[in-house]
């Protein structure tokens, strides 16, 4: 009995795929959820480290390792730092939309949602960066988001937490491909730390770097053996410390060194999945959700 829906082979006959993603949120990561932290320069300078050093450092390491990447950017960040986003585009990375600001979209009414998506996409256009794909900035998936994205030419998302397999999110005018991620492969979960205000809320110790790398590689190798999809999420202000860049180099070497694993961008993988896998297997959680709620679309 194997995990239902594993495709057997990925593009080019690969046994597994890996997608490296980066959330480029700058100081909106702090100010979006906490506008009251405006003016806390020490705290915000940590977030700005990402813009000043982290973006270029990550692009450099990824380029040296020959690993493609997919970056998600909120509209506010495109508006405030278009040159940075252009550098990401020019480095050959895929770039997707991460809403307008780093705030939950869950209770946004459809009209307001449309306005902020359009506002964000206008910033992408102004910067001459194509927004291919979407990731929620935080929080829960608002019902009816699929149609709002599909209507704006966005065909895929990476917003759900679960799993080693793409699946579909149905709208009424089409379907999104979802490339889910997992909190294990997330640098913020492992390393974020701020004294005042407390981040994380309970001041958990910064995780040991070797433990984190070991967890990431354990999941990577097991996912490869099984033939699934492995997704990593990084943040320039978290992962690009001098010491963690050394860890990143090691990780990227392992990814590249795994024969039979194809490293892909989100758009490439989503398009391949859309073409080759029209149906999710029975029991896929979203289809159980739709059945239980009597909904046909999300």
């Amino acid at each position: 009995m194997t995990v239902p829906g594993l495709p057997g082979r990925w593009p080019g006959g690969a046994r597994s795929v890996a997608v490296v993603t980066v959330d480029l949120q700058a100081d909106r990561a702090v100010l979006g959820p906490h506008p009251e932290y405006a003016g806390l320069d020490k705290t915000l300078s940590t977030a700005r480290y990402g813009l000043r050093h982290g973006v270029d450092a990550l692009l450099d390491r990824l380029d040296r390792a020959g690993v493609p990447s997919t970056w998600f950017v909120p509209g506010t960040v495109v508006a405030e730092h278009p040159q940075v986003v252009c550098r990401v585009r020019d480095a050959g990375a895929a770039v997707g939309l991460q809403g307008w600001d780093v705030v939950p979209l869950h209770d946004t009414d459809p009209d307001a949602l449309a306005v902020l998506l359009d506002r964000a996409l206008a910033e992408f256009e102004r910067a001459r960066v194509t927004a291919d794909g979407f990731r929620l900035p935080c929080g829960e998936w608002p019902l009816d988001l699929a149609d709002a994205l599909l209507a704006r030419g966005i065909a895929w998302s990476s917003s759900f937490v679960s799993g080693e397999l793409p699946f579909r999110i149905p709208g009424t005018i089409g379907e999104l491909v979802e490339l889910p991620f997992h909190w294990t492969m997330n640098d913020r979960q492992a390393f974020e730390w701020n004294f005042a205000p407390a981040m994380p809320a309970g001041h958990a110790r910064i995780a040991a770097y070797d433990d984190v790398l070991d967890n990431w590689l354990t999941e990577f190798h097991a996912t490869h053996d099984e033939g699934g999809m492995w997704v990593l999420t990084m943040h320039p202000e978290i992962m690009a410390t001098p010491g963690r860049l050394v860890v990143l180099d090691e990780l990227l070497r392992e990814l590249r060194g795994q024969s039979g694993c194809r490293l892909m961008t989100g758009p490439e993988l989503a398009r391949w999945w859309a073409d080759s896998h029209p149906h999710d297997p029975p029991g896929q959680p979203l289809s159980v959700f739709l059945g239980a709620t009597g909904r046909t679309h999300l």
């Binding site: 995990v3 869950h106 998936w141 019902l143 799993g163 433990d211 967890n215 979203l286």
Partner: protein
């Protein structure tokens, strides 16, 4: 023969010095958000839970099959209703499916009549889908009420694995009488939530703690295996497929199972079998 408080040494079968049960709470998306209805606007949270029966369970069943291990799955009856093929697959592979509420209720919140209704409704679903009722019970979340044990005993349940007060099974004493309801107490140290679970919105852990390093977690669990062997108890886990059933973490379960088997003196079996053995070797007063 057990002591007046229902405890006593257990002599394990076949020369084994201790026992071990790999027990999983197959919660799926059930729980408070489903019960209060908020889950029906939360597809991400639902999908996180659904990952358990959909993707994690087949992976864990593979691991258990490869290590020749029979396990116990405490399964809310709602999950049996909505992933019947997956749960039937687990039963067909020789694993025990036991009671875990209908939608993972907090029994302390329910009146005795409501608790009875949950238990009876779930047993009906078990009979209808799986062909047999559960003989074991684990409190889904939080506490039970003073009446719960009596309800279970009256309905012929053989055991509960809900409390934290021992390392060896004992018999529940209700109204001064030693009953045929066995308790197989668990420990939080062998709960994957305490080491590995991480969710957002709402945040778990509430303080935003890290996911632990897998190596250290496995090492701690292996120490517990050794410790249980020394005391002659019954080690029973509280694993959750949606937490421990990722590709990398399922390997930890495999290593645990291997370690239990290669020890050579541990009876690795289902909770149901442990309870039956305890009852058969201890006479009632």
């Amino acid at each position: 023969m057990s002591r007046p408080d229902g405890t006593g040494p257990v002599h394990w079968p076949g020369g084994a010095g201790s026992a071990a049960v790999l027990a999983f709470d197959l919660d799926g998306p059930t729980g408070r958000a489903m019960i209060d209805g908020s889950l029906w606007r939360r597809p991400i949270r639902f999908a996180q839970g659904g990952y358990g029966p959909f993707a994690a369970l087949p992976r864990l069943l593979d691991t258990l099959a490869r290590t020749n291990t029979r396990a116990t799955f405490f399964t809310p009856a709602w999950v049996v209703e909505h992933w019947p093929a997956a749960v039937l697959g687990a039963a067909a592979a020789g694993h025990e499916i036991a009671h875990h509420g209908y939608q993972h209720e907090r029994f302390l919140d329910l009146t005795p009549d409501q608790q009875a209704e949950v238990i009876d409704r779930s047993q009906e679903i078990f009979r209808s889908v799986l062909g047999r009722p559960a003989t074991g019970f684990r409190t889904p979340t939080g506490d039970w009420s003073p009446e719960t044990r009596g309800l279970l005993a009256a309905r012929g349940f053989r055991y509960s694995s809900s409390l934290r007060d021992g390392h060896t099974p004992y018999r529940h004493v209700i109204d001064g009488r030693i009953t045929d309801l066995v308790e197989i107490p668990a420990r939080v140290d062998l709960d994957d939530y305490a080491h590995l679970a991480y969710f957002r919105d709402p945040d778990f852990p509430s303080g935003g703690d890290r996911i632990a390093g897998y190596r250290g977690v496995l090492a701690s669990w292996l120490r517990e295996i050794e410790g249980f062997r020394r005391v002659g108890g019954c080690l029973i886990t509280t694993f959750h497929p949606q937490v421990i059933g990722t590709p990398g973490r399922a390997r930890l379960v495999g290593e645990l199972a291997n370690s239990l088997h290669t020890a050579g003196d541990v009876w690795v079996t289902t909770a149901e079998d442990v309870a039956a053995h305890v009852l058969s070797t201890w006479e009632a007063r």
